[in-house]
């Protein structure tokens, strides 16, 4: 198969001006991948700087609550900066240092990847610019605050739908001017080759750990693994630990938004989503687009899942039937989040809560000797503004009004 392709998906649809940059990146990536000391350096860095390995928590109360399969939760929320995003950026940071570049740029939706990149840049001493859709800047102000405090420049993107895809386009525009000293840290398993493969490689640390942990705790492979899917990086991360185990069912959970039938969602792989094959942002995958190929606006309660495309690797795994896809609605997400908080004292990010929704639907019908893993890709407590807003919490609103008065 052609390099960078997964079945019919993937590729590197890049402007000619970036060819030389991609040649250099491919070379640096392949050299690092072939060098066992690079991976060891990465694992050591993540252990020393970012709480890895993250625990696999046995969710005893949730298991009892549903009375079915044993529920285990992979705790990416405990990674530094609060999500799995740190895995990818620290790995790319090591690569940037090897390539001798001095500046990093990134796109961000929810702000998770932006904060992670700004953190990495601070740690490695790189200059950093983050592109973020204007709408996301408005809904994720606390993350903007942290990025700026970490020394990054945050550029609000006012084009298009002013969300993740537009931020990605703008980062590309920066890169075609600045590629000599700048690396574009793509935040997910999307974009032109080698990004899907490279980001999946860095994120595979989740699956490697989870596999070892479930064997230690459960004594055998899990029956199912659940992960939310926007671009798909946390899902690819954990799935890679179990791809070669045909007995382990892998379930990707997309953003069902207000419901697939309403058209206000960000699901590409479930029945009726309306996604079709396309080429945009440098790669070929299933996109939510018009029949003529114009990208549609997407909707999700979780900014990190609010994206038109999906990893070409996951398009392929879905097409082959290796990964099963489901969608969780905004309303179901809030319910699952409440349950996780009250029964286990865990606060998943709204993105991650999508995976909880589907796991909660399936666990009760499974037998008690079966086990499932939910990838808790990030923590929700730092998204207090978004979550409190989603809960429409009266005391929180009163607090905000009062605080605003103080600032007047």
């Amino acid at each position: 198969m052609k390099k960078g392709y997964y079945g019919q998906w993937g590729g590197a649809f890049i402007p000619e001006v970036l060819q030389a940059t991609f040649d250099a990146l491919n070379k640096a990536y392949e050299t690092a991948r072939a060098d066992a000391s690079f991976w060891q350096e990465y694992v050591d860095l993540m252990g020393n700087y970012s709480c890895r390995p993250t625990p696999l928590t046995y969710a005893e109360n949730l298991t009892r609550h549903f009375g079915g399969a044993k529920i285990y939760i992979k705790r990416e929320d405990l990674n530094h900066t609060g999500a799995h995003k740190a895995n990818n950026v620290m790995g790319q940071g090591l690569l940037v240092r090897r390539m001798g570049k001095k500046r990093v740029i990134a796109e961000t939706g929810a702000g998770q990847h932006g904060v992670a990149t700004a953190t990495m840049a601070a740690r490695f001493g790189f200059a950093c610019t983050i592109y973020m859709g204007e709408e996301d800047v408005a809904r994720q102000r606390p993350n903007v605050f942290w990025m700026e405090k970490l020394g990054a420049t945050v550029v609000p993107v006012t084009d298009g739908s002013r969300t993740l895809k537009d931020a990605m386009n703008e980062a590309f525009r920066d890169w075609v001017t600045s590629m000599d000293d700048t690396h574009y840290v793509i935040g997910t398993v999307c974009g032109p080759h080698p990004f899907p493969e490279m980001v999946a490689w860095f994120q595979s640390i989740i699956g490697i750990e989870a596999r070892r942990q479930i064997l230690a705790q459960h004594g055998r492979m899990p029956d199912r693994v659940f992960a939310c899917v926007g671009g798909g990086s946390n899902a690819m991360g954990i799935f890679q630990g179990f791809l070669e185990e045909p007995g382990v069912e892998l379930v990707g959970v997309e953003a069902g938004g207000l419901g697939i039938a309403t058209g206000k969602h960000a699901s590409r792989m479930v029945e009726g989503s309306g996604a079709s094959a396309g080429v945009a942002q440098g790669y070929k995958t299933l996109f939510l687009q018009s029949p003529e190929g114009q990208m549609r606006d997407t909707h999700s309660i979780a900014a990190g899942l609010d994206y038109v495309g999906i990893s070409p690797i996951l398009s392929d795994l879905g097409e082959k039937g290796r990964v099963r896809f489901a969608a969780a609605t905004d309303r179901e997400v809030i319910e699952a989040l409440s349950l996780a908080m009250r029964t286990e004292g865990l606060i998943p990010a709204m993105e991650s809560a999508h995976a909880f929704v589907q796991a909660f639907k399936e666990a009760p019908a499974m037998s008690k000797d079966q086990a499932i893993i939910i990838n808790m890709s990030g923590r929700g407590d730092k998204d207090i503004f978004t979550i409190a807003h989603a809960f429409d919490d009266p005391s929180w609103k009163a607090f905000i009004v009062k605080r605003a008065e103080e600032y007047r």
Partner: protein, 258 residues
């Protein structure tokens, strides 16, 4: 006659050729029609008509905004073809090309898109996000139809890369003079003369030079070094500011300098 020969023929009587650019449907087909007439009457050789795409990663703010407004007005690919057909019939001296992103071609169907492009009297296509590695069927189908798939040279390309690209292109080569996106006023990269000499050594196809060219001096500077100057963003800005009537004198002025 194929595009390469046609351009070489024209170069026998002109020191430099001119290619201009429009975003279809921006601000309207009515204005597009008037702008094209002005361009044709003032000696433009080629016109690239851009079919808007929602994710134009190679374009700067001016074309980005124009594309968005055109899409917001509900423009359809079918209308672009019909308008193109009308223009090709009305201005037979102009060589028309479609510029767009690959998804538009892909969704229409590569073969069908190219067939239609030829049938309406166009001579080629410019697709900036389709490198030759990904565009093998596109290149082959274009050539079979007698269309010129325009490929790019850039200041970052090695000599080996220039030769690889040149061997797969047709019509002319689009030499990007600067890094960055369309309309960006970065300085000409390094030594323009040296870069264009490198381009010239890599191919016998005519060289069109574009990205950020807007001033009379730019065209004068290119004369002798390149075969065709590409004016993109500058005319969009001009129409925004002064209306379509300003285009004719602007084009005439550019060529008077050359």
């Amino acid at each position: 006659m194929d595009l390469k020969k046609e351009l070489q023929q024209r170069l026998k009587t002109k020191p430099i050729l001119l290619m201009t650019h429009l975003v279809l449907g921006y601000p309207s087909f009515t204005v597009n029609r008037e702008v094209i007439r002005q361009m044709a009457e003032n000696g433009v050789d080629c016109i690239e008509l851009q079919i808007p795409f929602s994710e134009p990663i190679a374009d700067g703010p001016v074309i980005l905004k124009a594309s968005q407004q055109s899409l917001d007005s509900g423009i359809a690919v079918e209308e672009c073809f019909r308008f193109g057909q009308e223009m090709a019939a009305a201005f037979p001296m102009i060589r028309f090309l479609f510029m767009t992103y690959y998804n538009i071609v892909f969704k229409y169907g590569e073969e069908a898109f190219l067939q239609r492009t030829r049938d309406i009297g166009f001579c080629g296509t410019i697709v900036p996000d389709l490198p030759p590695e990904e565009g093998q069927t596109y290149l082959e189908r274009s050539k079979n139809l007698g269309l010129a798939p325009i490929l790019f040279f850039t200041p970052t390309s090695t000599d080996a890369r220039l030769r690889t690209v040149a061997s797969q292109g047709a019509g002319f080569i689009y030499c990007v003079a600067r890094r960055g996106v369309t309309g960006q006023q970065t300085a000409f990269d390094g030594d323009l003369e040296q870069y264009l000499a490198r381009c010239r050594r890599a191919t016998d196809l005519p060289l069109a030079v574009g990205f950020g060219i807007s001033a009379l001096a730019d065209v004068a500077l290119l004369t002798g070094m390149a075969d065709m100057a590409v004016i993109g963003t500058a005319t969009i800005k001009l129409v925004d500011a002064q209306g379509p009537a300003a285009v004719g004198p602007f084009i005439a002025g550019l060529l008077a300098q050359a």
